[in-house]
């Protein structure tokens, strides 16, 4: 049952390594198309809008708005039991793409769709040093 005990941390690949490297530095980075300028997430080897190759990586503002959220009471595995209940949100970043984040602190108390949030990072964990991003209430 070991796979039910371990948290499923990301294993970076050629498409996603720059994203996770950015998180480990405390920076949220997004891909931006060199041809049409579209910012996209999740990362890919090409632009999913115009199919130009090799989008550029740019530092993002790390700020956005809650598009939806749910407070989870039944976890997928024992690895998540300690944090119950926890809040997962879809956040529309100011650059356009939508990302999934855990809501932390005050942001998780009584979230509402449309609330402004900013991205923070968990301490690096696991063999790949993954610093998962999370969302906090946007300060002044």
């Amino acid at each position: 049952m070991s796979e039910l005990q371990a948290r499923p941390l990301p294993v970076p690949n050629a498409d996603t390594a720059p994203f996770w490297d950015g998180c480990a530095r405390g920076e949220l980075v997004l891909q931006s198309c060199r041809q049409c300028g579209t910012a996209q997430f999740p990362p890919r080897s090409l632009c999913a809008r115009c199919h130009a190759p090799a989008p550029a990586w740019r530092r993002a503002s790390g700020r956005g708005r809650i598009a939806s959220f749910t407070r989870v009471h039944r976890p997928p595995s024992a690895a998540f039991k300690a944090g119950l209940p926890y809040v997962i949100a879809l956040v529309d970043l100011d650059e356009g793409p939508r990302i999934m984040l855990a809501l932390r602190g005050k942001a998780a108390e009584a979230p509402r769709i449309g609330d402004r949030v900013k991205v923070g990072f968990d301490p690096p964990a696991g063999p790949h040093g993954i610093a998962l991003p999370h969302a906090l209430t946007e300060g002044p």
């Binding site: 499923p8 749910t70 009471h73 997928p76 024992a78 209940p85 997962i88 939508r98 990302i99 855990a102």
Partner: protein, 386 residues
Amino acid sequence: MLKDWRAAITGAADTAVGELPGSSCMGLHAEAALLALADAGLRPGQIDGVLCAYSLTEPHPMLASVFCEYLGIRPSYSAAIQAGGATGCVMAMQAQALVEAGLCRHVLVVAADNRLTGMTRDRAVAALADFGHPQFERPYGVTIPALYALVAQAYMHEYGATREHLAAMAVAARTHALRHPKAQMRRPIAIADVLASRPIAEPLCLLDCCLISDGGAALVVSARDAARDAPKPPAALLGSGQKNTHEHIIAAPSLTAFGCRESAAQAFGRAGVRPADIDVAEVYDSFTITLLVELESIGFFEKGEAGPAALAGALDLGGRLPCNTHGGLLSYAHSGAAGGLFHLVEAVRQLRGEAEARQVRGAELAFVHGDGGILSAHCSLVLGRG
């Protein structure tokens, strides 16, 4: 007058459903297949095409070959199809295409799984969480209910749907299930029971979620000339359609508008009918929100109307749109890809007038819809009494 049709369901059957100790995944496949063949008046050797799906308890990259070996048949065409909850409808659409193209005369469509007794509940929940994106969703502890809860929260915010509106879907399903002698859930429920059930992922509670079941189901899809000898009236495949817009919820174009609108529009267009013409609907109901969104997106109800209408009985026998008359995934059974086939089996029984206490009187046109992923992959079918 039915539009000219070239493919029809001539056999439809399901096994017992619920908790089936001593069952195996392939054993349920074979049982469902033989029942459907008998229903169609065919011997196994007369099947020239086989479509299978997937299994959580006995996964294999070539499930159609595994099944044909198990049953001892050697069809000239076989393939396995994986489209999550849309698989049942996608298999039927593919079978329709095979017979319409003249590649097969009788295609056996079969799916089964024993995910209630064949694996622990914890393992089933964990396996289903694999639907989440491995790097950008699963690390946050998503489950399928949590992913649908994100849709529910957004939909309630945008269209004013309430938890009572969601609960009305569950109560309608249970009301139907009580009339089905094989249904897994046999106890009546009220709106208050749904609201008071254990929270799973807000706003969804336990009774907003589908069942986990053992069971299997199968269809035989036959070419028109080959359907002439069938012992029972064929259910003609009048129109079908699909639309896939995303896989992961982070990449969904919208949290409140989904591909079911386009897939249903295609199916209605090809059948030459409108939503208002449908006598009975069997619509994928993995969660209460799934059914609510689909009923409104497909055009059976205006946005914001399905909940209040369901509270007033619109989905029950005698209502505006009798829906999921077997009890659906919420109250009949859900055993993987067979879950979507249960909807199709029920549609055939309704069109044949075999649905006994749950029969929709004079049902001539049925609509069936499957949704896979997080409202990602959609397939719609219009069936008519042949």
